[in-house]
Symmetry: C2
Subunit: 161 residues, 2 copies
């Protein structure tokens, strides 16, 4: 399923109005995708890579586009790795709520309280605890600073391409 712009898709809308994205959310524009800082920073450095076109499944893309987008996801992961130094990055495209292709990149640390589990287990517990919910969004390094640092790495990485 693919089309340039789906009227009711929030990610098509986001891609189509890039200029309106807050400065502490927008990180990068690639040829085939955009990169934003995730709304929660409980896993600091969490980014989302959103395909510019509306795809529902990996097999909906032609091989060239798929390869190009995965290269962009890999570059974003590399930038996160340079800035955050995680023990591992989690790569996830779920699409249960919004099917439009978007990759969650969660940097995971040795110090994560649930380091062997998917982030969703911890996030679900927080969602159910109003007092803890604020921790979901908080970024100790500051969102603007994270955006700046990640963008700086992407400048370097795309120069080296």
């Amino acid at each position: 399923m693919e089309e340039k712009l789906h009227a009711h898709c929030p990610l098509c809308l986001k891609v189509d109005s890039l200029a309106k994205l807050p400065a502490d959310e927008f990180i990068w524009e690639f040829p085939h995708s955009i990169v934003t800082l995730g709304p929660w920073q409980f896993y600091q450095g969490y980014c989302i890579v959103v395909a510019k076109r509306h795809f529902h499944e990996l097999f909906d893309l032609d091989r060239e586009t798929r390869s190009a987008i995965i290269d962009e996801v890999a570059l974003t992961a590399q930038a996160i790795h340079q800035v955050i130094s995680p023990r591992k990055i989690n790569y996830e495209w779920l699409g249960n709520q919004v099917p439009h292709m978007h990759w969650h990149l969660f940097p995971r640390q040795e110090s994560d309280s649930n380091k062997l589990k998917a982030v969703w287990v911890e996030l679900e517990q927080m969602e159910n605890d109003p007092q803890k919910k604020i921790a979901l969004e908080w970024a100790s390094r500051g969102r603007a600073k994270l955006v700046h640092e990640l963008r700086h790495e992407l400048v370097q990485l795309t120069k080296m391409e």
Copy 2:
């Protein structure tokens, strides 16, 4: 981080002893990955695509290998789609427990009790409930039948390549 075979990696071991894999687990061998039926079939049709080589992050692969593996993941997803007809497939490479590149492909259905959430939320609840845990592994269609059907689709799909 990449090397042909890591002595202490359970997925390197699995790739290295393909012939020993149970008939109701092994589905397919691609040039760069193998496909197995997931150990739990609560999300029926759940497969795992394991890279043959030991990579920790997307940016550890050269562009060609990365592209080839993602094509293999896409073909597997397409086979799952043909056999299971899900509303959406979840694509996840976490690596929190075993970093060696492996993609979980979870087919999600309209009828999923938690259809808008990641599978891990439901699985965590089941893991904590011994009486429900058996539901994790059970496959109403039977594991051998699922393996047979998925393999049949992959034969067709790789013929069309």
